[in-house]
Subunit: 184 residues, 2 copies
């Protein structure tokens, strides 16, 4: 992160007011003072943060999961992912979610990106890992509230899906483009 001190863009928080406290998210409104001394209000969705895992097997197939996403009203293809638990390290979360969702672990784990999917209104942060050297393990079982289906898709096919708009999940597009740019 590039930090520039005395930046006229920096906003100072004056007060914070919680408007909604939910099961996974909270909503708060911050009153801020802008760099040119105006008062503004910012509506913010607090989210615990998440991990996502890009994994390509020895046959150049990408591990994807299909899941109904109620906000979109559709079943989406995504890379395996899940929310951070309290005090959980991102890498531990990535291995846990990957095992739960796919019954696989990996020999090597590399953190490739840390990013904000929606910094305009949410503090959600995603830690994106690449898992290399996949091996089958016994799944500890998944969230009973989640119905997912694991699919292995040839990388070339996944690329086509991105280009044709059949793959519409942001973190999955980032992960696949990363792999394509790095020839892996």
């Amino acid at each position: 992160m590039i930090i520039i001190k005395d930046d006229r863009l920096i906003e100072k928080t004056i007060s914070t007011n919680y408007l909604y406290r939910g099961r996974i998210i909270n909503v708060r409104q911050d009153q801020v003072k802008t760099g040119d001394d105006k008062i503004a209000f910012r509506e913010i969705v607090e989210h615990p943060g998440a991990v996502a895992i890009i994994a390509i097997d020895e046959n150049d197939q990408v591990v994807l999961v299909r899941q109904h996403r109620q906000p979109t009203g559709a079943v989406l293809y995504e890379i395996p992912a899940g929310k951070l638990e309290a005090n959980e390290e991102p890498l531990d979360c990535a291995r846990r979610e990957f095992m739960e969702e796919t019954a696989m672990d990996a020999e090597e784990w590399h953190q490739i990106f840390v990013f904000y999917p929606s910094p305009g209104f949410s503090d959600e942060i995603i830690y994106l890992f690449q898992a290399i050297g996949l091996k089958d393990v016994q799944s500890p079982g998944s969230d009973p509230d989640e119905n997912i289906e694991v699919r292995k898709i040839p990388l070339a096919k996944a690329k086509e899906m991105v280009m044709h708009g059949d793959l519409v999940d942001g973190k999955t597009i980032i992960a696949l483009q990363y792999v394509l740019l790095n020839n892996k």
Copy 2:
């Protein structure tokens, strides 16, 4: 979008309950019936949707904006972007936001991706455009609530910023990867 009928993953909405209605977002809880006939609850942030614009000038410089993002507590580099107004077409919104934020228009506009940045909890959808053939115009003026600073960064430098973690906005990573993959 790939639609598979009789998909056991599809969830049916039983009821919807609004928990928060805000200035930009709403929060609702949907009660759903899963494919295996269980009842589950989904917490959803409704968002109006947004556009984002990747624009490279004739000197291979990317047009970025710097903006304080209160959810992240930091000033981020992002491609120009903005929220859809009611009944606004994504392309019209892209041209409007681009003019407001950068005082530029373009000869060609191509929609390159439509994606959900956070489909697990929000219906926010982003229409990503590439603007080609940039030209200066008079800015109609920006949102008085928004303080932004336009910066042109050489594409090679922007690529380094992504790789070194200095560029942490999801839509900007997707857009830059796209440009790098397509040699533009």
